[in-house]
């Protein structure tokens, strides 16, 4: 039973993502984009952040067509859990596993700062003990993080609290598929798992992979 942390060329956050999983007592191992299968014993999949393929064409576009993503799709369709963080979220939208698309921030600038996220839907496995209306403090760091799509039809799990940092429709920060087993978000929970870094609110999301 272990979380597969998938690496693509240009993936940046695999080390911190893996550490976040092991930090809450989970097991994790890397998977490689060019492989056709997830590693033996994979119980959940984490698509970490970064600039896979340099964000060329559209962020996540090239990675979402990698061989490993067919295996991720099979895993998701069989009900397995998948968490996409930042670039991983972009891949999930590009591959159609989550609805909508992520376009450039309305500022057209990269933004990096701590953000407050409001829990909108507390019924997925991804927000732990937090209830609807609670806020989580988790950093955001992205250039193309504005979610575009039909927010009414989507299962929105997290919304930016206060000012909209990037122009996302309905301030969407993260959402799940209808069955709740696939979750994507632009903020970086793996960087909010250690009190030394200022917040441990990210653990709830990481726990969704091992619960």
């Amino acid at each position: 039973m272990s979380v597969a942390v998938v690496r693509f060329p240009g993936t940046l956050d695999h080390v911190s993502a893996l550490a976040a999983v092991t930090g809450i007592g989970g097991q994790a191992q890397y998977a490689w984009h060019a492989d056709d299968e997830l590693p033996q014993g994979t119980s959940a999949v984490l698509l970490p952040g970064g600039f896979s393929y340099g964000d060329h064409l559209r962020p996540g576009a090239i990675a979402s067509r990698s061989p490993i993503m067919a295996a991720v799709r099979r895993h998701a369709e069989a009900g397995g859990r998948v968490l996409g963080i930042c670039n991983g979220f972009q891949m999930l939208c590009e591959s159609g596993l989550l609805p909508g698309a992520l376009i450039d921030n309305d500022s057209l600038s990269f933004i990096c700062h701590q953000a407050d996220l409001e829990v909108v839907d507390d019924s997925t496995p991804w927000t732990g003990d937090a209830g609807a209306g609670d806020t989580l403090s988790i950093p955001i760091k992205h250039h193309g993080g504005a979610w575009f799509g039909d927010a009414e039809a989507a299962r929105v799990v997290l919304r930016y609290h206060g000012e909209n940092p990037n122009g996302s429709v309905e301030r969407v920060a993260g959402l799940a598929n209808a069955t709740g087993n696939v979750m994507g978000l632009m903020p970086h929970p793996e960087e909010a798992c250690d009190p030394l870094l200022g917040s441990t609110d990210g653990r709830a999301l990481v726990k969704g992979l091992v619960a």
């Binding site: 064409l57 067509r65 698309a101 309305d106 057209l108 575009f148």
Partner: protein, 77 residues
């Protein structure tokens, strides 16, 4: 072998932050007569084979365009 041009523009209902920013910047520079600016992509490539246009369409479907947010157009030059 043919040179193929694929244009890929944000769909009308999609926010186009880049287009908006360019429009604002142009106005700021005194180009008050610029309006409805959209910024998209232009991809040029050589395609070898009997049906370059068909091949290009397949590439768009497989990778180059995201139909949720972009309209694409293929032209063989």
């Amino acid at each position: 072998m043919s040179r193929v041009v694929i244009t890929d523009m944000p769909r009308a209902e999609v926010l186009d932050p880049q287009g908006q920013a360019v429009e604002r910047a142009l106005r700021g520079l005194g180009f008050d007569d610029a309006d409805r600016v959209r910024v998209g992509k232009r991809i040029e490539l050589d395609i070898d084979g009997p049906d370059p246009e068909g091949a290009a369409r397949k590439m768009c479907d497989a990778l180059l365009a995201n139909p949720l947010i972009e309209d694409f157009h293929v032209e063989v030059v």
